[in-house]
Symmetry: D2
Subunit: 163 residues, 4 copies
């Protein structure tokens, strides 16, 4: 079986709580040997998740970039340059076995959560606002997580279910 890929999504300018959650989640995901996939940019949740993962020896971070050649963060091991702008959000979703949004605080993350629900991917909302939870409950299926540890437990369950 290929190594699971966990997509960690979130705002480029997140709240401090979402930033901290993404960093911890990145570390926990990497400790389990899974690949961390993000949008690859050196900002916000993307940067935090990769930085967390790179605290773990042997970790692998995959960044799916909007640009054609530049702009990957320092903690991205493998950079895929799509040249497609925000249309690459669809690739982030398809290439992740499970998607975790650390806060749903901006339109980019919102589009990824929506595309993931559309694609039938398992989606975990970590620290989402009550407005985000109410809205996404109205359009499809997802799981809430109160903290990174709970998100990892949900990922483990989902990976077992799909084996």
């Amino acid at each position: 079986m290929r190594t699971p890929v966990i997509g960690i999504m979130g705002a480029a300018a997140p709240t401090p709580a979402s930033y901290a959650a993404a960093e911890k989640l990145g570390r926990l995901v990497a400790e389990r040997g899974w690949i961390v996939l993000t949008g690859g940019e050196p900002a916000g949740v993307m940067a935090a998740a990769c930085a967390g993962a790179k605290q773990v020896a042997g970790s692998l971070t995959l960044g799916i970039l909007p640009g054609t050649s530049e702009g990957a963060g320092p903690d991205v091991d493998v950079a895929v340059f799509t040249g497609m702008g925000d249309a690459r959000n669809a690739i982030n979703v398809l290439s992740s076995d499970i998607i975790v949004a650390c806060g749903v605080e901006g339109p980019g993350t919102s589009s990824e959560v929506a595309l993931a629900i559309k694609a039938g991917k398992p989606v975990i909302l970590l620290g989402a606002s009550s407005a985000a939870r109410a809205f996404f409950r109205s359009i499809g299926e997802w799981l809430p997580a109160a903290d990174p540890e709970e998100a990892v437990r949900l990922i483990e369950q989902k990976l077992e279910d799909t084996q």
Copy 2:
């Protein structure tokens, strides 16, 4: 100046109210000589908006399809086949001067509204649920419309502003 392109977005399986709004909006947009852009499929809001537009002589409907060669609805005059699946939602947004969502009832429409806000496009939410209005208020700028007539007045204002 190029003919304005109005993107009319919405669910493939909308409520009857959203379907009726899309059909009327398609007609009103076409009566003003603007191009109607949709996702091109023969279902829901996409089909209704195109059907409404084609009640008007000389109207032009543009469908941006997810597939490679088939699946455009009968009221689509010009079909663009992207072969990109839901990643084409980004093209729908970029190719529209203004986006109107007739209901935000499914994940595809949600991703389009989010991408449009991200791209800085004028977005009008017509008949959105209170959950959708509350959530999208939390992530960016958009305008509410109570009915297709109000949506068209807002479009006219926006087009004047950007001239």
Copy 3:
């Protein structure tokens, strides 16, 4: 049946012969009521084909642009902004019923001819160099045309065959 879409491809900096052929071909295609599809930019074969088409009353030109919001030529009636750079060449191909290359003089056109052959689309090479003809003969099927009039006759045959 939807109006046929004829993709006219070629270099942004073509030879004078290819430029002239594209302009004439655009006019001949438009005179038959078919839609002219190009890469939409105000340069070379793209510009010539659209200019030729717009000499015909009631013609329709469709440009599939690499950028997100600007850069469509003045003779493009409907501009689709992909934001995907050269990846949009695949959309040009999928959205055309038949592809005509007016010269194969640059890498962009070469990629479109190759993608069209891969997609199984009818491809006509008009005024291709002997090197281009020899190479594309080695990788797949296409039809040669000596001038725009012959290209149009080949298009008419192909459209009849596929009806």
Copy 4:
């Protein structure tokens, strides 16, 4: 500096010589610690390059797939699912620091070589036919290699030049 990514391109149904060259090149690239990028499918040059790389302990293979969820070969470590069909060829090119075509025997590879020349990427043609060499000489810059060893020497030079 990020680990160099070497794109190895070629036909899904290559000649035996191109298959053997791709396998050897994959191994040589992996021995130098570089990442092997391919189109990810379990066929032809893509499969051979990945199989060659996976003979080397600690190697990393990256596959950029056309589909949405399936179809990656067994020797692909990290699979990126684009859902974009052949439009993903542009991503293969942008994500590679250097592109090596093992034979230019089909339209997919031809489109990648053309897109790589368009993007200004270093391109090496290994074992290309005289028709392919003559044609690509007419549209842009690339380097010939007689065998995988020479290709690797050219890659080393290019990587030094760009540091």
